[in-house]
Amino acid sequence: MIYSTWINQFHSVFLIVCSLFTYVQSDVPRPRGVSLSKAPLYSPTKDFTCFDGTITIPFSYVNDDYCDCFDGSDEPGTSACLNGFFHCTNAGHRPLNIPSSRVNDGVCDCCDGTDEYASGETCTNTCEELGREARAEAQRVAELYKAGSHLRLELIEKGNAKRNEMAEQLQQLEKDKSEAVQIKDEKESLKNELEAKENEALKVYREAEEQERQKKAEEEKQNSIRESLEHFNKYDVNHDDVLTMDEVIIARVFDKDQDGNVDAEETKYFFGDSDSVDKDTFVSTTWPLLKPLLMAKDGLFKPVEEHEDIEQEQEGDADEAGDLDNEYAGHDDEASDLDLPQDEHEEQEQEAEADQSNVYDEETQKLVNEATEARRLHSDAERTVREIEANIRKIQQSLEKDYGLQQEYATLDGECWEYEDKEYVYKLCVFQKVTQKSKNGGAEVGLGNWGEWAGPDHNKYSIMKYTNGIACWNGPSRMTTVHISCGLETKLLSVTEPFRCEYKMEFSTPAACDESHPTAQHSSHDEL
């Protein structure tokens, strides 16, 4: 525990006065380390009462390098109180309050060097220079904001226009939608009507077809059994009606992995996990496995092996595989959003079927054609509705986004900027997502999707947060904060990873050049 903290705990304190004060009052207007605003609290003609009111001490105890007050107020100019502050005037630049522990520690903390009056350290007064620089910087910033604010106004205008446009679009779309739905309903009832007729007419044909198909299937089955038994007998060298490993070891077709050997593993694969098979099992279990290989051997059938190989390679690189999956998933989303509904596939198949067996009588054919046309019209109508709904959702989502107080960020939505460092290309798609791609190839890694504005309360629109990126190996999901500053050009200035899997982007844009905002006037309002 630090003494000053300890002493704080006592309330019954009295002094044993046993020495005389020999302190000579100086005629300084305020004690060292006191700001002008606090100067009246230090009156050399009176005893000093600590700011917290707990103790009153002779004024000679102020700045005598001994901490008397719990709150440190008696030692504004020394390092005696751990919880005190030293005020540097820093004429020519900004004033500064530093912790008392930085007084006379050999490090120049105040630009006027007043904090090092007894440490032996000679500090050069750099306030003029720093002040000049600061003013120049403030000037630069002010000019930047001024120039930027014009561009910002344009962005606001465009943003508002974009929003209005979207709102109008939305209205129009809603209207379109109700019309489209009406059309769709009409087409649907028409379709239903015609299909009922078609069904009736096709019933006869369907039954015939079904019979034909069953007959064909039975024939195929018998063929298959015959063929399999032929093979069985061929392999069953000793004719004991049981195939063993010894018997198939010479049959190349059993060499599934094509390593030139038929091993136990392979035979087990074909034998349903046992060492031998009888005829029945051969027909039911072995043959279905063997047939494709035989066909492949004869060049009749292209096995799926190649494809499997590709998959295995991909497994080697989990990230890539994952990303491929994602991309596919992405396509699926688009598909369902836009067009190609699943039942259309079915309909096409039906049509194809109809084409193949184009043996209806004229009357039936006519009904079929009418129904087909009705289905086509209906599905077109349905697609139109879905398209409109998708557009509505998109616009609604955009309208729900917070594009800044004055819509100044609206036009940036969906726009992308890239930044390259030695290893990676980073891409920020504003209000969408952040990605990283290695220059050595490999898939894009998501560093986060648009989350929210995350600046401090007084400056909410200074930081964007993109969250829920791809999870780090053995760690959290990646996320990115985008720190926005005023700049005449919209661009990514830097990308770093200060914390593991937490990326930080510096992004400049005129949209941030808000002259009315404190940041813009920070320098100019300060005491210079």
Partner: protein
């Protein structure tokens, strides 16, 4: 810093478990010699001293010892051995048993002893009835029984304190030629029975070729009437050692153990084969001077696990005795026996042999901030600045392996650290330092100067066939410098020259990690035992005699590494500045060169708790400069654990926060402000006591006593203290009981010294407690119990600044805690904090005494001075019953009346601003 385990982290994350993979490390049964020796239980020792050969010369008795086949009436002599018993100063004896004429020289550990031990006189008092009685000049005796060989060490009080070979487990396996047949005394040819594994052993996929066959040594050591034994770090077990008969022995074999276990006798990074016994009767100790793999069995007859028939047999049922048995894979029997009266005497005797830690540079006792890794120069700058933004003091920023150019030590990653010198200058501007890591594995990469030099000059450790040994470590394929070759050590030392390691300066210090050595693909993650090390060429030493095997030297390897580093750092400025080195591998003597941390722990309460017994054990074994990774290396510490760890670490000698690269960042300001504030408070406490710590380390460098010490060191007669290892003393003044339990509002604290009516003052409130054993003490999240002993004076610096260097001239607050007689003493050491000038009398070593009538500050070293600008700003006197009326300071003939404030109800008197300068003695007189 870290282990191979990074590669396993993914697997762990899946299984969710955190534990050592025991399969990677041998059990006694899997270690050929341990199994062999542990199975060896002779009824009676075969080793017999030949009384006709006894010769006492100077401080040495030498004699021939033979193994005799007592089962034959002829009493066939099996083998000849040479025994040496030396009397050394300060009540220490040394016993060496080697083969009389070994096939090739057996390895004698080279670096553990700081110098040739100093001789005492040795006199043969009597030689009768098959017993020799000898005495040194201190009144301690050795009684040697010839048959079977038995050595009893009698302390100054006339009591047998240590007995060697009482259980007949002395073994020195003779070196043999493979498939040898030997002649016995009567010229009969006797076939040697070849046990399996004699000429080769396997462990997992590794084969140890064992070209010299079996060469193990063993000895049992008994401590009659002892209650406990301690020592043989480094383990995660309790400070007081357990009986091992029903499980594994304690293992001493320096290993990089990924996610090491708690409460385990498994070997980890360090091995210091020193053991102390203590009890109400007496204390004693032994140092087993051997650098090979060693296993130690312990039997404490008071343990409930020891079967009563054995207790009756050995101790006559009185349950007060501890037996230990040391088993080493190679070397000779070389054991030092300490006959100190008290534990403190033993600690002194041990450090007299192996050395004390030299005075460390002052900054190294302050707070260290480490992480694997600070990414780049911006990161370092940011961390440095944040300490100031959050007003938390810090002295050192550390760089782990990622600062290098792809793990090539003595190089920088030029993209991440393009301007190391500027980065260092930025730190030193505020009095801060940098520590960079340099591991002993060398990347095998064409074009890397170190690898090319080492390959060309033959500087690497060789494999069993004499080719450069290649292992796998951080850089990938790596080789290991053979520091045993003085040319290699010199070459290595020169790598630390500023020219050879650009960007470094006197303010850059070194961390030698992975120096067990860690070899990811080696047996037990270390170097194969049949690798070859340099041995000075000597006539007749060819073939197997031309080199040492790694098995002989293993535990010493890291010591050779840090010794070369130490040499290199001294070279940098012509031995002007004191180096700071941190090592992970530890052996006897490590303390002479480096501080030690407890390796890769985890952010778990158990690891916080075990940091205390681990460091106590190391401190007793000479390594006072010890600490654990604050916050835990693996995993992430939540706020409470982090807070408690900072509070504990602030009161442990080596105070460094560190973390694994895969864990969430955890610098103090990344927690909630309330937690940051608690961490700030804990860290400031350390800085306020920085001169107290510095004084303790100065005193340690002189007397060798642990800085962090067990309670029984100061209160040896107090039985309750013997098993206490969750609290400890700093010097003799502060008692620390870190809170290592989650969510508690009170803890049990033991206050020793009831017999001497000791007072203990809570350092937060100055409230005095009479020592009376255990009490339950209230704690908050802001508090851990720390007490100042009544009768002590502790110097403090209340003006905590950004770094300890910036506090050098600051004034002192002297905290006087009065004993029941109203008196107190303390000491204070002051110097420039970083150079060796203190050895030229440029320092102050002063005594502070408080008597009711006067407080004085006087120089213990009267010839030594240092022009400090520090002064006394405040004297706090706690426990004052009748306050004085006046106080008057006298310094350099000048008198000043002082003002005092009494804090009533707490008996605390504060003397306001005496302003006496500390460069000169002073006195304050009180009148009542």
């Amino acid at each position: 810093m870290k282990t191979l385990g990074l590669l396993l982290v993914a697997a762990l994350a899946l299984s969710g478990s955190y534990a050592v993979d025991k399969n990677n490390f041998k059990t006694c049964d899997q270690s050929g010699f341990c199994k062999r020796l542990r199975g060896f239980k002779p009824e009676k020792s075969q080793y017999t001293l030949n009384l006709d050969t006894v010769l006492v010369h100077g401080n040495v008795l030498s004699a021939e010892v033979n193994t005799v086949d007592t089962s034959t009436p002829q009493r066939t002599v099996l083998w000849h051995y040479a025994l040496r018993l030396s009397a050394l100063v300060d009540g220490t004896f040394r016993v060496e048993i080697d083969e009389a004429d070994p096939l090739y020289p057996r390895y004698r550990t080279q670096l553990a002893l700081k110098e040739e031990p100093k001789a005492d006189g040795l006199k043969l008092l009597s030689n009768e009835n098959g017993k020799l009685t000898l005495a040194n000049t201190q009144g301690q005796k050795v009684i040697i029984t010839a048959e079977p060989l038995l050595l009893e060490f009698v302390n100054a009080a006339g009591e047998v304190a240590v007995v060697l070979n009482d259980n007949g487990q002395l073994v020195v396996e003779p070196l043999r030629v493979k498939k040898e047949r030997i002649d016995d005394d009567e010229a009969n040819v006797v076939d040697v029975q070849e046990e399996e594994g004699t000429w080769g052993e396997n462990f997992k996929s590794h084969h140890d070729s064992k070209p010299r066959g079996n060469e193990a040594v063993s000895l049992d050591i008994s401590f009659p009437e002892a209650d406990h034994v301690y020592g043989i770090p480094e383990h995660t077990d309790k400070f007081s050692l357990h009986t091992t008969t029903s499980g594994e022995p304690y293992r001493l074999f320096n290993l990089d153990v990924f996610e090491y276990d708690l409460d385990s006798r498994m070997a980890i990074y360090g091995a210091v084969p020193v053991m102390y016994s203590h009890g109400t009767k007496r204390s004693a100790g032994v140092f087993w001077h051997n650098s090979a793999e060693t296993w130690v069995d312990v039997v404490n007859y008071a343990d409930s696990t020891v079967v009563s028939s054995l207790v009756n047999l050995v101790t006559g049922g009185q349950k007060r005795r501890v037996d230990a048995r040391f088993m080493s894979e190679s070397g000779i029997v070389d054991v030092f026996v300490f006959l100190g009266e008290k534990p403190a005497d033993l600690f002194r005797q041990y450090t007299a042999l192996t050395g004390t830690a030299p005075l460390p540079p002052k900054f190294s006792l302050a707070y260290h901030q480490c992480r694997w890794n600070y990414n780049d120069e911006d990161d370092v700058r940011g961390v440095d600045e944040n300490f100031d933004v959050h007003d938390i003091p810090a002295d050192v920023i550390w760089l782990d392996i990622e600062y290098t150019d792809r793990k090539k030590y003595f190089t920088w990653d030029h993209l991440k650290f393009p301007h190391p010198a500027e980065m260092v200058a930025n730190l030193t501007a505020k009095g801060r330092k940098l520590v960079t890591i340099i591991d002993p594995h060398i990347k095998r990469e064409a074009g890397y100067f170190l690898h090319e030099d080492a390959t060309e000059m033959g500087y690497y450790v060789k494999d069993k066939d004499g080719k450069d040994y290649e292992g796998w470590c951080w850089p990938g394929s790596s080789s290991y410098l053979d520091f045993f070759n003085p040319v290699v050590s010199k070459y290595y030392a020169e790598r630390y020259q500023y020219d050879n390691f650009p960007g470094t300066s006197k303010d850059v210090h070194i961390w030698n990690d992975m120096n067990e050595p860690s070899v990811f693909n080696g047996p037990e993650i270390t170097m194969p035992k049949d690798c070859r090390h340099y041995k000075p060429p000597q006539d007749g030493n060819d073939g197997l005699a031309a080199f040492w095997e790694h098995r002989h030297v293993h535990n010493e390897y890291g010591l050779w590494n840090i010794r070369a580093t130490h040499e290199g750092m001294l070279l940098r400025d012509n031995s002007k500045y004191r180096p700071f080195i941190l090592t992970r591998s530890t052996f006897a003597g490590t303390q002479r060169y480096a501080a030690v941390w407890t390796g890769d722990n985890a952010a778990e309460w158990g690891f916080l708790a075990v940091s205390v017994p681990m460091c106590l054990s190391l401190a007793a074994a000479g390594v006072s400069f010890c600490g654990s990774d604050v916050g835990g290396f693996f995993k992430y510490p939540e706020a409470e654990l982090m807070t408690r760890w900072y509070q504990a670490g602030a009161f442990q000698p080596f105070f460094r926060a560190h973390s694994h690269i895969e864990t969430k960042r955890r610098e103090p300001w990344l927690y909630e402000p309330a937690t940051t504030a608690l961490i700030r408070d804990a860290t400031r406490r350390r800085y306020a006591l920085i001169d107290f710590w510095y004084t303790l380390f100065y005193e340690h460098s002189i007397d060798g006593l642990p800085v962090m010490r067990p309670l029984f060191q100061e209160f040896p007669a107090e039985e309750d203290t013997y098993t206490i290892d969750d609290e400890y003393l700093l010097g003799n003044a502060l008692l620390v009981r870190p809170v290592v339990e989650p969510g508690v509002t009170s803890v049990k604290v033991y206050l020793p010294g009831a017999a001497s009516r000791t007072l203990w003052y809570d350092v937060d409130t100055y409230h005095a407690h009479h020592a009376n054993g255990y009490l339950t003490y209230d704690v908050t999240l802001a508090k851990i119990p720390v007490f100042q002993r009544g009768g002590s004076i502790v110097p403090r610096k209340e003006r905590v600044r950004r770094s300890s260097a910036l506090m050098a001239d600051d004034p002192y607050t002297l905290v006087v805690a009065l004993d029941i007689n109203g008196t107190a003493q303390g000491s204070l050491y002051i110097d420039d904090g970083e150079t060796y000038e203190y050895l030229n009398n440029k320092h102050i070593y002063a005594k502070l005494t408080f008597e009711p009538n006067a407080m004085t500050y006087s120089f213990i070293d009267e010839n030594a001075h240092y022009p400090t600008r520090s002064w006394v700003e405040r004297i706090v006197i706690a426990g004052i019953k009748s306050p004085p009326k006046t106080a008057k300071l006298t310094q350099a003939g000048k008198q000043t009346a002082l003002q005092m404030t009494l804090h009533k109800g707490n008996d605390v008197l504060v003397v306001r601003k005496p302003a006496a300068n500390m460069a000169q003695p002073w006195t304050i007189n009180f009148t009542y």
